[in-house]
């Protein structure tokens, strides 16, 4: 029998689900019916050249949401387009922009994308459309990579300037006099991937857009704003908060889709006593393999770089038997070089690449076309993340399949046992806070630098006078006799603000194997100690590399290819220091707080683990400096009254267990990614002198989770108590307080954590 044989997607799915151990794992199988395209004629006022270009592309009509967008903009409204992945969102801005240029070649537009990769994709698309229409379009990317000779031309004559918020903030707005031609004629501002502007980044970007609006007003233009977003729970609020203007939400999706199957698989428990379950990789691999062997284009999402590389290795090994298409299965993740990623994206679009194993690096709107199957090896952590990854599978005509294989994590457990959560809960809300006082003041400095403020002038929704008076006290701003506020300092305020907070410092990975050493990838500084410490096994495109030397000062890791049957896993010691308390409040015998913290992490040791059994083969020390992260945290400190009668060791284990449960519950409550929160439990905090549990945000600067946890602390505590008390393990398991495999003579960590949380009992009533 031939193992590899082309087969229709639906048939492969039927075969897969017929296997007994797979069918035993199914907790949900929903069929989303096919949707016909909802078309609308191209509006009559569209320039004939553009109409021709669309027809040339095989589009005699448009999808309904595209026409909605065109008409709303024509009517003078600002819009936010919120339709699923690959529904033709970008035409919602390309078309009106090209129409404006067709009507008046001096019209200009500014496109903002959160990443450089997306800028390039969209530039290619709009250029192609312009070419088909026979328009002499000046469209270019303006970012850090733009060569100097081109910059002047783009400033003077670029009809479409494609850039990112960071560049707008630091290079364009402060130099607006050099860009006056753009600002005088600016008709459209396009904010794509608007859902990615949440948290601290979003708060910054909203303020950058406020500055942009001021500059436009100065040069006499009032551009329309087009936002595009993946599905979020609060599109109208997102658009309004981000742009500072009311936006019309365009969400009547008119794009067609074929029948879609969504399957949730839950690998069965292996050991009820410890609650041990297999990881999601096994079932994910089996599912993917079935489709790959049938020549169905498949994407597999892993949760971590290591998981991606392991999945890729085993997939390729199994495809090898029967001479499967193993060369057509590739890996894709953050550490790969841009050129390599571009090649993979192109291969997926053309179909040359049959399968790809990816981290969420592919989540953002990078164009890889539509695939047959998406397999999620583990719950991505958020509902919108799940639907975005599942959305990669979705043929316009044909059947497509999305399979979620739950992992052993507590969130995975929850989703697998409550699949309705996935289908019925609304998408997460994208939260941002442009009124964050630090962010606001920083951008007000930059705005004053750009143009003096009139007395009473608004910045955002209200007057800036009080804030400017505050800035005047520190001396960078002054009010002159004409009552205007002027910048009065040598400093260049934009250079003091990083929109992403995290320093863009990376460690380069250099392969010394070939005659000429070459750079094979990079990792960010904060994760370098765990991924490329000396003697680490670093995986790249499923090849193993041994890290011979890590030059920390030069930010370079020297590796050479090896072939071994183990991987390495590093352990981190984390210490945490509160720097500033934003708010605190008493809560029974405890105090809840949130604020700014400094997190120091030190990689201590690494373990060598056998590839297939994860058996421990040995360990070594890591000698690297601490890395520091500035972030925000929520914490709960217990008063002496709360811990009367506790033995220190018990209290320690109770805090650790409660911390884990709190983190799990926090992720569900905020619908955030579990990787976004770290937990530190201190039986006696050196800073507060009390027992403390911290949940800290792993994203530098935080994304506002800590403040939400502060608001919802009572719910958080009661849900954590429920989680621990409701767990079906004996003494603690990974799904509640962590592994309980300790000496049976000691009190069970599960019992201890439950007791501790119960002792804050009043709180539950309050909730």
């Amino acid at each position: 029998m031939r193992i590899h044989q082309p087969q229709p997607t639906a048939e492969v799915l039927r075969g897969l689900l017929a296997q007994p151990d797979v069918s035993a794992a199914v907790t949900a199988h929903r069929v989303l019916p096919a949707r016909a395209a909802q078309l609308a004629p191209i509006p009559g006022w569209i320039d004939p050249r553009l109409r021709g270009a669309l027809e040339d592309r095989g589009m005699p009509a448009l999808y309904r949401h595209q026409v909605d967008a065109l008409e709303a903009l024509r009517g003078g409204e600002d819009i936010l387009v919120s339709t699923p992945t690959a529904s033709g969102k970008s035409l919602c801005y390309h078309l009106p922009v090209l129409q404006a240029i067709a009507e008046d070649p001096s019209a200009r537009a500014l496109y903002l994308f959160p990443t450089k990769a997306l800028s390039r994709d969209q530039l290619a698309e709009v250029r192609e459309l312009g070419d088909r229409a026979g328009m002499q379009l000046q469209a270019d990317v303006y970012d850090g990579d733009t060569p100097a000779p081109l910059r002047g031309r783009i400033r003077a004559a670029g009809q479409i300037v494609v850039t990112n918020p960071d560049m707008l903030h630091a290079a364009i707005l402060p130099h607006h006099t050099a860009w006056f031609q753009l600002f005088e004629q600016l008709r459209y501002v396009v904010v794509d991937e608007a859902h990615s502007y949440r948290g601290i980044f979003g708060s910054h970007v909203a303020n950058v857009l406020r500055r942009l609006a001021r500059i436009c007003a100065h040069y006499g233009s009032t551009p329309r704003i087009v936002c595009c977003s993946a599905t979020v729970g609060n599109p109208e609020a997102l658009g309004r908060t981000l742009t500072g203007r009311p936006v019309r939400v365009i969400d009547r999706n008119g794009a067609p889709s074929g029948e879609r199957h969504v399957v949730v698989l839950d690998p069965p428990v292996m050991d009820r006593r410890t609650g041990a379950r297999p990881g999601p990789s096994g079932l994910a691999r089996r599912s993917a393999l079935a489709f790959l062997r049938a020549e169905r284009q498949t994407i597999v999402f892993g949760r971590s770089r290591v998981q991606v590389e392991l999945l890729l290795t085993t997939l390729r090994e199994q495809l090898r038997e029967g001479r499967g298409p193993l060369d057509r299965v590739r890996g894709y993740r953050g550490g790969y070089l841009p050129s390599e990623r571009r090649a993979i994206e192109a291969g997926l679009r053309t179909g040359d690449i049959l399968g790809v194993v990816s981290t969420s690096a592919l989540e953002l709107g990078i164009d890889i076309g539509r695939l047959d199957v998406a397999v999620l090896a583990g719950y991505p952590g958020t509902i919108s993340g799940t639907w975005q990854q599942m959305g990669r599978a979705g043929r316009r005509q044909d059947v497509s399949v999305a399979i979620l294989v739950a992992g052993a994590g507590s969130l995975d457990r929850y989703v697998a046992s409550h699949p309705d959560y996935l289908f019925e809960a609304s998408a997460e809300e994208a939260r941002l806070d442009p009124e964050n006082i630090h962010v606001l003041l920083a951008h007000l400095r930059a705005a004053t630098f750009e143009l003096p403020f009139e007395p009473g002038e608004r910045f955002g929704a209200s007057s800036a006078d009080d804030l400017l008076a505050f800035l005047a006290e520190e001396g960078h701003v002054r009010q002159a006799d004409d009552l205007r506020w002027y910048w009065a300092s040598e400093n260049f305020p934009a250079s003091e603000i990083s929109l992403r907070v995290a320093a863009p410092e990376n460690v380069l990975i250099i392969d010394t194997g070939p005659a000429r050493p070459r750079v094979i990838g990079e990792v960010d500084l904060f994760s370098a100690p765990t991924l490329v410490h000396e003697d680490a096994i670093y995986l790249h495109e499923s090849r193993q590399y041994h890290v011979d030397r890590l030059d920390w000062d030069e930010r370079k890791a020297y590796v050479r290819p090896v072939d071994v049957d183990h991987y390495t896993q590093a352990e981190l010691a984390v210490t945490l220091k509160p720097l500033d308390i934003f708010d605190e409040a008493a809560l029974g015998d405890a105090t809840r707080s949130h604020g700014e913290v400094m997190v120091s992490s030190l990689a201590t040791i690494y373990k060598k683990l056998k590839m297939d059994t994860h058996e421990n083969l040995g360990w070594g020390r890591i000698h690297l400096p601490e890395t520091e992260l500035h972030s925000t945290a929520w914490w709960l400190s217990l008063s002496p009254a709360a811990t009367v009668g506790w033995v220190r060791d018990d209290l320690d284990r109770a805090l650790v267990g409660a911390g884990r449960a709190l983190r799990t519950v926090a992720c569900l409550l905020l619908m955030s990614d579990p990787h976004d929160l770290g937990v530190v439990a201190q039986v006696r905090s050196p800073h507060l002198g009390r027992p403390v549990v911290y949940l800290w945000e792993t994203v530098p600067g935080g994304v506002g989770l800590a403040s939400r946890l502060f608001e919802r602390t009572p719910e958080l505590l009661s849900a954590a108590t429920d989680l621990i008390e409701g767990c079906d393990c004996e003494r603690g398991c990974p799904a509640c307080v962590g592994p309980g495999a300790e000496l049976a003579t000691l009190a069970s960590p599960r019992e201890l954590a439950a007791r501790l949380l119960r002792s804050l009992g009043d709180v539950r009533v309050a909730a």
Binding site: A461, A480, F492
Partner: protein, 425 residues
Amino acid sequence: MDQATGAIRAHRLDRLRDRVRAEPPTTPIVATRVTALRDLGRAETLARVLGGHVVRCGSAAIAIVESRTRLPADLGRLRDLPDPLRPDQPIVCLDTETTGLGTAAGTLPFLVALGRWQADEFVVRQLLLPDQPDEPAMLDVLERHIPPDAQLVSYNGRAFDWPLIVSRYRLHGRPAPDHAAHLDLLGLARQLWRHRLPDARLASVEAGVGGVRRHGDLPGALIPERYFQWLRGGDASLFTDVLEHNRQDVVSLALLLRILSQDVLPERDGRAAMGAVQPQDLAGLGRQYARRGRPDDALACFDRALERLPPTWRDRDLQDTINADRARALGRLGRRLEAVSAWEAVALEGGPMAPIAWIAVAKSLEHVARDPVAALGAARRADALAFRSRFLGRPQPQIERDLARRLPRLIRTARARSLRAASAA
């Protein structure tokens, strides 16, 4: 919604204030202004203390301080500069003092010095901005001082001062004044004099070339803070040394123009052999001509520089470099035979320029003499020298790259040629 956000903002600001107030203030706040100053107005105060006059434009005003220096000069030869200036059109020397580096929108030029000759006197007018709202007056007056046929002279002004001024006009929504030319002396000074100075800053050039000695000069880095002190209510006398620094900068520009016109350019023609001009200066001038596409003038400079090299000159490298420049200029002029023999001379000298020279010879043999065999010989000489350089730890990658393409091609054509010759025989 506006009220709500306004309230949130006020609350957050209050909390921030509380936190900041808990800490001791880091910078002293100058809150009180000199009352006399308020009565008189800033512009009048400046004019009175610094000895100038006030010019008003609407509600805005600036102070202008004028000074005269005796500086007789014959500027006729400036028309022969690589970037020529016409002596019959106004020459306006320009220098600004600003609140920061860079030309972004928040950098303010608060002092602009404009210098022009009136007969034997060099007259400097310094336009001083009393306060930020007075800028429209500054722009008005500046416009009046820069006629459309003005030729600006500055030091790094093409990259800094002028773009900054243009930026200010745009900020105020008006066009910057037109002018006929802009000579930035920084580039020329670098070519001519950098070899004998620690750096090419104006202060170094005026000292090393013009013999200017400044006494108690205010370091440029301190200037922005002086202006902010004044804005916060400081004394007008803060400007005394700022004005002097700025005035001296413009006078130095005039001095350099005089040196160029009276010493350097005549020296090029061998007319005034004065010790002030060194052979390397002339070679630098030659390179500047070459850059501007004037090989004839460049050649004159190189010839004169070689002539001026003392017979006991030990620095063969310098001679070598100038000879190579000269050969290049000859090539540009289309004087091929002379160029080739000049390159040959450099090649046979065996100095640091020899590999380049051999390549030039090879090019000529290949394309002009059509003798690939001889060209290959020359290229091999270059290759041997490049190899030696690399062996001695001074690799010349550009030459190696050139030869990596040139040698195989010449080998191919030379072989083809000899085969053809053999078959013809």
